[in-house]
Amino acid sequence: MNILTESPLYIIAFAGLLHASFQLGVGTLTLLSGHSLGSRRSFSRLMRLNLAYLAGASAVTLMLFASLSYIALFTVSAILPAAWVVVSFLNIAIGGSVIAFYYRRRKGTGLWIPRAMANYLQERTKKTKHSAEAFTLGAGSVLAEVPFLIAPLSIAILAVIAQPSHTGFQLGSFLLYCLIGLLPLMAIVAMVGAGHKISTIQHWREHNKLFLQYCSGGGLIILGVYVLVEKVLPGITL
Protein backbone atom coordinates (compact mmCIF):
# COMPACT_ATOMS: atom_id res chain seq x y z
CA MET A 1 0.00 0.00 0.00
CA ASN A 2 1.35 3.43 -0.93
CA ILE A 3 1.13 5.26 2.38
CA LEU A 4 0.88 8.64 0.70
CA THR A 5 -1.96 7.99 -1.70
CA GLU A 6 -3.93 5.10 -0.26
CA SER A 7 -3.74 5.64 3.48
CA PRO A 8 -7.08 6.00 5.24
CA LEU A 9 -5.33 8.46 7.57
CA TYR A 10 -6.47 11.26 5.26
CA ILE A 11 -10.09 10.21 5.68
CA ILE A 12 -9.66 9.94 9.44
CA ALA A 13 -7.94 13.33 9.66
CA PHE A 14 -10.68 14.95 7.56
CA ALA A 15 -13.37 13.32 9.69
CA GLY A 16 -11.58 14.68 12.77
CA LEU A 17 -11.59 18.14 11.20
CA LEU A 18 -15.35 17.91 10.64
CA HIS A 19 -15.78 16.77 14.25
CA ALA A 20 -13.84 19.87 15.29
CA SER A 21 -16.12 22.19 13.32
CA PHE A 22 -19.15 21.49 15.53
CA GLN A 23 -19.76 24.24 18.05
CA LEU A 24 -21.71 23.04 21.07
CA GLY A 25 -18.58 22.13 23.05
CA VAL A 26 -16.84 25.35 22.09
CA GLY A 27 -19.89 27.45 23.03
CA THR A 28 -20.28 25.77 26.40
CA LEU A 29 -16.57 26.20 27.17
CA THR A 30 -16.78 29.89 26.20
CA LEU A 31 -19.76 30.28 28.53
CA LEU A 32 -17.94 28.46 31.35
CA SER A 33 -14.88 30.72 30.95
CA GLY A 34 -17.14 33.81 30.88
CA HIS A 35 -18.86 32.80 34.09
CA SER A 36 -15.57 31.96 35.80
CA LEU A 37 -14.08 35.32 34.82
CA GLY A 38 -17.31 37.15 35.76
CA SER A 39 -17.28 35.57 39.23
CA ARG A 40 -13.70 36.77 39.75
CA ARG A 41 -12.36 33.27 40.30
CA SER A 42 -8.60 32.96 40.60
CA PHE A 43 -6.57 32.15 37.49
CA SER A 44 -5.68 28.69 38.82
CA ARG A 45 -9.37 27.92 39.46
CA LEU A 46 -10.29 29.18 35.97
CA MET A 47 -7.67 26.96 34.34
CA ARG A 48 -8.61 23.97 36.51
CA LEU A 49 -12.23 24.25 35.41
CA ASN A 50 -11.31 24.68 31.76
CA LEU A 51 -8.86 21.79 31.80
CA ALA A 52 -11.39 19.59 33.58
CA TYR A 53 -13.93 20.47 30.88
CA LEU A 54 -11.39 19.57 28.20
CA ALA A 55 -10.60 16.31 30.01
CA GLY A 56 -14.30 15.42 30.12
CA ALA A 57 -14.79 16.12 26.42
CA SER A 58 -11.60 14.16 25.58
CA ALA A 59 -12.60 11.17 27.71
CA VAL A 60 -16.04 10.86 26.12
CA THR A 61 -14.68 11.35 22.59
CA LEU A 62 -12.08 8.63 23.18
CA MET A 63 -14.63 6.29 24.76
CA LEU A 64 -17.18 6.85 21.98
CA PHE A 65 -14.61 6.13 19.28
CA ALA A 66 -13.19 3.10 21.08
CA SER A 67 -16.51 1.54 22.06
CA LEU A 68 -18.20 2.07 18.70
CA SER A 69 -15.10 0.70 16.91
CA TYR A 70 -15.16 -2.39 19.09
CA ILE A 71 -18.86 -2.97 18.44
CA ALA A 72 -18.38 -2.35 14.70
CA LEU A 73 -15.48 -4.81 14.57
CA PHE A 74 -17.77 -7.68 15.61
CA THR A 75 -21.01 -6.65 13.96
CA VAL A 76 -20.25 -4.65 10.85
CA SER A 77 -16.93 -5.94 9.52
CA ALA A 78 -18.67 -8.89 7.82
CA ILE A 79 -21.05 -6.55 5.97
CA LEU A 80 -18.61 -3.74 5.28
CA PRO A 81 -19.87 -2.76 1.78
CA ALA A 82 -23.41 -2.26 3.13
CA ALA A 83 -22.00 -0.32 6.08
CA TRP A 84 -20.13 2.03 3.73
CA VAL A 85 -23.38 2.69 1.84
CA VAL A 86 -25.27 3.49 5.04
CA VAL A 87 -22.51 5.68 6.39
CA SER A 88 -22.05 7.63 3.15
CA PHE A 89 -25.77 8.45 2.91
CA LEU A 90 -25.80 9.28 6.64
CA ASN A 91 -23.01 11.81 6.09
CA ILE A 92 -24.78 13.35 3.10
CA ALA A 93 -28.05 13.65 5.05
CA ILE A 94 -26.41 15.10 8.16
CA GLY A 95 -24.34 17.46 6.00
CA GLY A 96 -27.57 18.78 4.48
CA SER A 97 -29.09 19.15 7.96
CA VAL A 98 -26.08 21.14 9.16
CA ILE A 99 -26.39 23.52 6.20
CA ALA A 100 -30.14 23.84 6.76
CA PHE A 101 -30.49 24.37 10.51
CA TYR A 102 -27.31 24.02 12.56
CA TYR A 103 -27.45 27.65 13.69
CA ARG A 104 -30.65 29.42 14.65
CA ARG A 105 -31.63 32.20 12.28
CA ARG A 106 -31.00 35.16 14.52
CA LYS A 107 -28.19 37.23 15.97
CA GLY A 108 -25.60 35.38 18.01
CA THR A 109 -24.41 31.80 17.82
CA GLY A 110 -27.50 30.03 19.12
CA LEU A 111 -27.51 26.39 18.02
CA TRP A 112 -30.10 23.86 16.92
CA ILE A 113 -30.66 22.34 20.40
CA PRO A 114 -34.09 22.93 22.00
CA ARG A 115 -34.23 26.16 24.03
CA ALA A 116 -35.11 24.31 27.23
CA MET A 117 -31.90 22.26 26.91
CA ALA A 118 -29.87 25.38 26.06
CA ASN A 119 -31.26 27.15 29.17
CA TYR A 120 -30.47 24.08 31.26
CA LEU A 121 -26.87 24.02 29.96
CA GLN A 122 -26.54 27.75 30.68
CA GLU A 123 -27.80 27.26 34.24
CA ARG A 124 -25.51 24.27 34.87
CA THR A 125 -22.53 26.18 33.43
CA LYS A 126 -23.30 29.16 35.69
CA LYS A 127 -23.39 26.90 38.76
CA THR A 128 -20.20 24.97 37.90
CA LYS A 129 -17.75 25.50 40.74
CA HIS A 130 -15.81 22.23 40.97
CA SER A 131 -13.55 20.43 38.53
CA ALA A 132 -15.77 17.34 38.67
CA GLU A 133 -18.77 19.40 37.54
CA ALA A 134 -16.72 20.89 34.70
CA PHE A 135 -15.60 17.39 33.69
CA THR A 136 -19.23 16.23 33.56
CA LEU A 137 -20.20 19.32 31.57
CA GLY A 138 -17.48 18.57 29.02
CA ALA A 139 -18.60 14.96 28.75
CA GLY A 140 -22.24 16.02 28.46
CA SER A 141 -21.56 18.53 25.68
CA VAL A 142 -19.99 15.81 23.51
CA LEU A 143 -22.88 13.43 24.18
CA ALA A 144 -25.44 16.15 23.41
CA GLU A 145 -23.90 16.63 19.98
CA VAL A 146 -23.82 12.90 19.06
CA PRO A 147 -26.69 13.31 16.52
CA PHE A 148 -24.24 15.32 14.39
CA LEU A 149 -20.96 13.78 15.55
CA ILE A 150 -22.07 10.29 14.52
CA ALA A 151 -21.47 11.25 10.88
CA PRO A 152 -17.69 11.86 10.90
CA LEU A 153 -17.23 9.32 13.71
CA SER A 154 -18.84 6.49 11.71
CA ILE A 155 -16.61 7.13 8.69
CA ALA A 156 -13.47 7.22 10.84
CA ILE A 157 -14.49 3.98 12.58
CA LEU A 158 -15.13 2.15 9.31
CA ALA A 159 -11.83 3.47 7.90
CA VAL A 160 -10.03 2.01 10.92
CA ILE A 161 -11.70 -1.40 10.95
CA ALA A 162 -11.45 -1.79 7.16
CA GLN A 163 -7.67 -1.91 7.40
CA PRO A 164 -5.73 -5.08 8.23
CA SER A 165 -5.46 -5.45 11.95
CA HIS A 166 -2.38 -3.61 13.16
CA THR A 167 -2.36 -2.23 16.68
CA GLY A 168 -0.02 0.66 15.94
CA PHE A 169 -2.10 1.88 13.02
CA GLN A 170 -5.41 1.58 14.87
CA LEU A 171 -4.08 3.36 17.94
CA GLY A 172 -2.48 6.06 15.80
CA SER A 173 -5.73 6.64 13.86
CA PHE A 174 -7.74 6.76 17.05
CA LEU A 175 -5.42 9.36 18.62
CA LEU A 176 -5.20 11.38 15.39
CA TYR A 177 -8.98 11.68 15.15
CA CYS A 178 -9.40 12.67 18.80
CA LEU A 179 -6.50 15.14 18.71
CA ILE A 180 -7.82 16.93 15.63
CA GLY A 181 -11.42 16.81 16.90
CA LEU A 182 -10.49 18.45 20.20
CA LEU A 183 -8.20 21.14 18.76
CA PRO A 184 -10.79 23.97 19.04
CA LEU A 185 -11.34 23.24 22.75
CA MET A 186 -7.58 23.22 23.34
CA ALA A 187 -7.32 26.52 21.46
CA ILE A 188 -10.03 28.13 23.63
CA VAL A 189 -8.37 26.91 26.84
CA ALA A 190 -5.02 28.28 25.61
CA MET A 191 -6.53 31.62 24.57
CA VAL A 192 -8.38 32.13 27.85
CA GLY A 193 -5.24 31.17 29.75
CA ALA A 194 -3.19 33.61 27.69
CA GLY A 195 -5.49 36.50 28.61
CA HIS A 196 -7.74 36.87 25.57
CA LYS A 197 -11.20 38.26 26.20
CA ILE A 198 -14.32 36.16 25.87
CA SER A 199 -15.85 38.91 23.73
CA THR A 200 -13.03 38.48 21.17
CA ILE A 201 -13.68 34.74 20.93
CA GLN A 202 -17.44 35.25 20.72
CA HIS A 203 -17.06 38.01 18.08
CA TRP A 204 -14.99 35.64 15.93
CA ARG A 205 -17.54 32.84 16.32
CA GLU A 206 -20.45 35.12 15.41
CA HIS A 207 -18.73 36.67 12.38
CA ASN A 208 -17.64 33.29 11.03
CA LYS A 209 -20.64 31.17 11.92
CA LEU A 210 -21.93 30.92 8.35
CA PHE A 211 -18.48 29.97 7.08
CA LEU A 212 -18.21 27.24 9.73
CA GLN A 213 -21.74 26.04 9.01
CA TYR A 214 -21.24 25.70 5.26
CA CYS A 215 -17.74 24.26 5.62
CA SER A 216 -18.82 21.54 8.02
CA GLY A 217 -22.05 20.76 6.11
CA GLY A 218 -20.27 20.82 2.76
CA GLY A 219 -17.39 18.80 4.18
CA LEU A 220 -19.75 16.07 5.39
CA ILE A 221 -21.43 15.91 1.97
CA ILE A 222 -18.04 15.75 0.22
CA LEU A 223 -16.86 13.00 2.57
CA GLY A 224 -20.08 11.05 2.03
CA VAL A 225 -19.79 11.32 -1.76
CA TYR A 226 -16.08 10.44 -1.66
CA VAL A 227 -16.79 7.30 0.37
CA LEU A 228 -19.61 6.36 -2.00
CA VAL A 229 -17.37 6.74 -5.04
CA GLU A 230 -14.22 5.24 -3.51
CA LYS A 231 -15.61 2.36 -1.47
CA VAL A 232 -19.07 1.48 -2.79
CA LEU A 233 -19.19 2.07 -6.54
CA PRO A 234 -16.08 0.00 -7.45
CA GLY A 235 -17.83 -3.03 -5.93
CA ILE A 236 -20.92 -2.63 -8.09
CA THR A 237 -20.83 -4.55 -11.37
CA LEU A 238 -23.51 -3.78 -13.94
Partner: protein
Protein backbone atom coordinates in the same frame (compact mmCIF):
# COMPACT_ATOMS: atom_id res chain seq x y z
CA UNK B 1 -39.75 51.72 44.12
CA UNK B 2 -42.39 49.05 43.37
CA UNK B 3 -41.78 48.18 39.77
CA UNK B 4 -42.48 44.55 38.86
CA UNK B 5 -40.47 42.52 36.38
CA UNK B 6 -42.26 39.90 34.28
CA UNK B 7 -39.78 37.08 33.71
CA UNK B 8 -39.09 35.61 30.26
CA UNK B 9 -40.24 32.23 31.54
CA UNK B 10 -43.99 32.86 31.61
CA UNK B 11 -44.59 30.23 34.32
CA UNK B 12 -42.57 32.23 36.87
CA UNK B 13 -44.23 34.94 39.01
CA UNK B 14 -43.32 38.60 38.55
CA UNK B 15 -40.58 39.82 40.83
CA UNK B 16 -39.92 43.25 42.23
CA UNK B 17 -37.10 45.05 40.42
CA UNK B 18 -33.84 44.54 42.32
CA UNK B 19 -31.13 47.12 41.46
CA UNK B 20 -28.50 45.08 43.32
CA UNK B 21 -29.08 42.12 41.01
CA UNK B 22 -28.68 44.39 38.01
CA UNK B 23 -25.49 45.86 39.48
CA UNK B 24 -24.02 42.37 39.93
CA UNK B 25 -24.90 41.30 36.40
CA UNK B 26 -23.29 44.40 34.86
CA UNK B 27 -20.26 43.91 37.11
CA UNK B 28 -19.97 40.26 35.95
CA UNK B 29 -20.16 41.34 32.30
CA UNK B 30 -17.31 43.82 32.91
CA UNK B 31 -15.20 41.25 34.74
CA UNK B 32 -15.83 38.70 31.94
CA UNK B 33 -14.05 41.06 29.51
CA UNK B 34 -11.20 41.50 32.00
CA UNK B 35 -12.05 45.09 32.94
CA UNK B 36 -10.18 46.53 35.93
CA UNK B 37 -12.03 46.40 39.23
CA UNK B 38 -12.42 50.16 39.64
CA UNK B 39 -13.50 50.56 36.02
CA UNK B 40 -16.05 47.74 36.42
CA UNK B 41 -17.57 49.21 39.60
CA UNK B 42 -17.75 52.71 38.13
CA UNK B 43 -19.35 51.42 34.92
CA UNK B 44 -21.85 49.31 36.85
CA UNK B 45 -22.77 52.29 39.05
CA UNK B 46 -23.34 54.67 36.14
CA UNK B 47 -25.34 52.12 34.15
CA UNK B 48 -27.50 51.16 37.14
CA UNK B 49 -28.26 54.83 37.91
CA UNK B 50 -29.49 55.38 34.36
CA UNK B 51 -31.50 52.15 34.31
CA UNK B 52 -33.12 52.98 37.66
CA UNK B 53 -34.14 56.42 36.31
CA UNK B 54 -35.73 54.68 33.32
CA UNK B 55 -37.41 52.00 35.47
CA UNK B 56 -38.95 54.66 37.75
CA UNK B 57 -41.03 55.89 34.81
CA UNK B 58 -42.68 52.43 34.47
CA UNK B 59 -45.01 50.29 36.61
CA UNK B 60 -44.26 46.93 35.03
CA UNK B 61 -41.46 45.81 32.73
CA UNK B 62 -40.10 42.55 31.35
CA UNK B 63 -36.66 41.05 31.86
CA UNK B 64 -36.06 41.49 28.11
CA UNK B 65 -36.74 45.25 28.50
CA UNK B 66 -34.16 45.47 31.29
CA UNK B 67 -31.62 43.60 29.19
CA UNK B 68 -32.22 45.82 26.16
CA UNK B 69 -32.06 49.11 28.06
CA UNK B 70 -29.05 48.03 30.14
CA UNK B 71 -27.20 46.97 26.97
CA UNK B 72 -27.86 50.35 25.31
CA UNK B 73 -26.54 52.26 28.37
CA UNK B 74 -23.61 49.87 28.91
CA UNK B 75 -22.57 50.24 25.26
CA UNK B 76 -21.81 53.92 25.95
CA UNK B 77 -19.39 53.08 28.75
CA UNK B 78 -17.91 49.70 27.77
CA UNK B 79 -18.85 48.32 24.32
CA UNK B 80 -17.18 44.94 24.88
CA UNK B 81 -18.97 44.34 28.17
CA UNK B 82 -22.21 45.40 26.46
CA UNK B 83 -21.65 42.82 23.72
CA UNK B 84 -20.98 40.10 26.31
CA UNK B 85 -24.03 41.16 28.35
CA UNK B 86 -26.26 41.17 25.26
CA UNK B 87 -25.01 37.91 23.71
CA UNK B 88 -24.96 35.86 26.92
CA UNK B 89 -28.21 34.08 26.02
CA UNK B 90 -27.14 33.44 22.43
CA UNK B 91 -23.79 31.72 22.96
CA UNK B 92 -25.30 28.18 22.72
Amino acid sequence: MNVYVAKADSTAHSQEFDPLKLHHSVLSACYAVRAFEGEAHLTARHVCERVIRWVNTKTEITSADIRRVTTSFLRQYHPEAAYTYESYKEII
